[in-house]
């Protein structure tokens, strides 16, 4: 083709690979895809994490010629993918503990070197709880050593598997079981929380990227690019959780897209601590369009909307847009 074709997934997937050259097609469209995370797992209807993991791991398998080992932290992905006595993983997979996926993966990677298996690569994966909170120490250690591991964080912004408790990735004002929508300031507190992609960048590791299940090919491309790099790499994927967010299961991709288009979840890449690319917002939306679809923000709306705090959230989005230059 002479012209690059842009496809906008505005509600259907009928526009797709038929019009693209083979090299541009999604891994998931390939009949030979590995289905690393096979069907039969027990994820909820509309689970963003299952979607993201399937795309990410299959892309990594293609990039490595099917020479991949995955280490998984405790959490939703680990639990729904291995319901006793079954497993839906078709790749070598290890679940260790909640807080040590990064360290265990470092060990697996070290073993490959010791065993002379230079082509076998390692992915560590966990949710936001296992990454930004309890797994933070081990993650920072892995980054600092520049261990050859790609760490993927599936960020659904709370400890979902244990019943929706607040993590340091939970956004301000969001209702969780431990930041209930009661009292003078319902929901999660403002002025708290960690930005893991920025923290990863501060370690100056070779590759950091954010991705979203709203842009699945972008996600595949980022994983593929990451696997071509040696050393510590980090990809932070935004994955809506219908159960925890109180959004309709069929709206998962739509909600994820609104997060990106509002500026609340910027898509960018960074290398050795410097931002190297960002995905511009095509159609900017006010944060309310995003928040309204999720019951976890319901207390901000209704008869007397919390104008002040909605404005505060809008300010966060505005700042992201300004900082990353998302409207060019």
């Amino acid at each position: 083709m002479d012209q690059p074709v842009k496809f906008y997934q505005t509600g259907t997937f009928t526009v797709g690979n038929r019009l693209l050259g083979e090299g541009q097609r999604s891994v998931q469209a390939d009949m030979e895809r590995t289905n690393s995370l096979n069907s039969g797992h027990r994820a909820c209807q509309g689970c963003g994490e299952a979607l993201g993991a399937r795309y990410a791991i299959d892309a990594a398998m293609r990039a490595t010629g099917n020479r991949l080992i995955a280490v998984n932290a405790t959490g939703c992905l680990e639990v729904f993918s291995t319901p006793y006595p079954e497993t839906s993983w078709q790749i070598p997979w290890l679940h260790s503990l909640f807080g040590n996926a990064a360290a265990v993966a470092s060990g697996v990677a070290a073993a490959q070197r010791a065993l002379g298996r230079k082509d076998v690569r390692v992915i560590a994966q966990g949710g936001d709880g296992g990454t930004t909170d309890i797994g933070f120490g081990c993650l920072s250690g892995m980054f600092e050593r520049n261990d050859d591991v790609l760490y993927i964080c599936y960020d659904n912004e709370a400890y979902m598997n244990t019943g929706v408790q607040r993590s340091s990735a939970t956004p301000p004002a969001a209702r969780t079981a431990t930041t209930p929508a009661v009292g003078a300031l319902p929901g999660n507190v403002f002025g708290t929380g960690k930005n893991l992609p920025r923290i990863a960048m501060a370690h100056r590791i070779p590759y950091v990227a954010t991705a979203s299940v709203a842009s699945l090919r972008d996600l595949e491309r980022k994983v593929t690019d990451a696997m071509a790099i040696e050393g510590s790499r980090y990809i932070h994927i935004h994955v809506p959780c219908p159960l925890g967010w109180g959004s309709a299961p069929e709206n998962t991709i739509k909600v994820a897209r609104l997060a990106v288009e509002s500026g609340l979840f910027p898509l960018f890449e960074a290398r050795h601590g410097e931002v190297t690319s960002r995905t511009p917002i095509r159609r900017r939306v006010p944060v309310t369009e995003y928040l309204e679809l999720q019951k976890r923000f319901a207390h901000l709306f209704g008869k007397s909307p919390d104008v002040e705090r909605i404005a505060h959230i809008q300010a966060i989005a505005d700042r992201n847009i300004a900082e990353f230059g998302l409207l060019s």
Partner: protein
Amino acid sequence: MLKQTEGSRAVAEAIALCRPQVICAYPITPQTHIVEALGEMVKEGGIAGCEFINVESEFAALSVAIGASAAGARSYTATSSQGLLFMAEAVYNAAGLGLPIVMTIGNRAIGAPINIWNDHSDSMSMRDAGWIQLYAETNQEALDLHIQAFRLAEELSCPVMVCMDGFILTHAYDRVDVPLQRDVDAYLPPFEPRQMLDPAEPVSIGAMVGPEAFTEVRYLSHHKQLRALRLIPDLAEAFRARFGRDSGGLIRSYRTEDAETIVVALGSVNGTVQEVVDEMRADGSRIGSVSICSFRPFPLAALRETLQAARRVVVLEKCLAVGLGGIVSDGVRKSLSGIVLNGYTVIAGLGGRAITRQSLRRLFEDAQRDELDQVTFLDLNADLVSHALDRESATRRTGPTAEALLRRLGTVASRIG
């Protein structure tokens, strides 16, 4: 080859001879010299095909070992005290997954109060995690046990802790015989994992197990340790055949054949105990001692056989079951189920307090006259204790207990022993 070297160094040389593939290290007194020596050896190219990783915590150290072992590499780490507690979750995890990791514990007291000196509270805290626990009496045995440990771990698919007294052994210079590489190779074959993360044959390791099978999984690990009761003496015998000396095994008896009083202990204190036994034997006492090497699995049958004819058993412990008394005593008592004899628990050496010949002599003589309490704290400073108790009953705001005791004790730097 005979060498005069630090215990830690001897252990490091033994590990190196075992051809480890991944070593991960986090510093904590008193094990640090071991991993430092290993790090140096790896960096200088002395251990082929070995990756040495400096991790950011003990939790990370064992986690790295878990990943490496699951991926089919022979893995090793070391820790003590607080570090062992910090990795506690991973300790249980490694045993539950059946990964043959070998870990040295440089035995050190657990705080609070913070204390860097030797006792057995650290390894005792993990006694039921499913690891095999071996205690070394001397630096030679510490060196030898690591070689046996790798073979034991890999044959059973069970992690092994080799415990050696911090400072007393780790930092002591002793004469040791460091084996030759070819002899270690003959004794310890290359690692052949039961399970392995391998793209050629994918498996899922670490999945959830529900009520349907959890009991069976646990039973199998129990069964594994019972098998170890046979395997440990076998491997010690094979060791003797190859290297020409007695090291390891379940227990070691010293002059117990006709003993009326038998002292049971773990680790380096056995050396001092044996000296006192000899002194007292020379004076006509019928006394002997038993050193327990394998604490897990606990050698019930072997102990029963050795202790059953005695009149009394004195269990000398460097650990404390707070509110209860002895930990080792529990196991010893269990081994004597149905047999009536006098059993005494002596808590000694906590936090590095020296256990002297003199004190032991007095203690054993009291034992012989059956003039011991059920639980005795050896060399307890009664004045210090009653002072603290008096203060507590006199006033509410007594301040931190440890600091108050130290103030009463005065400067210790000027003291000997």
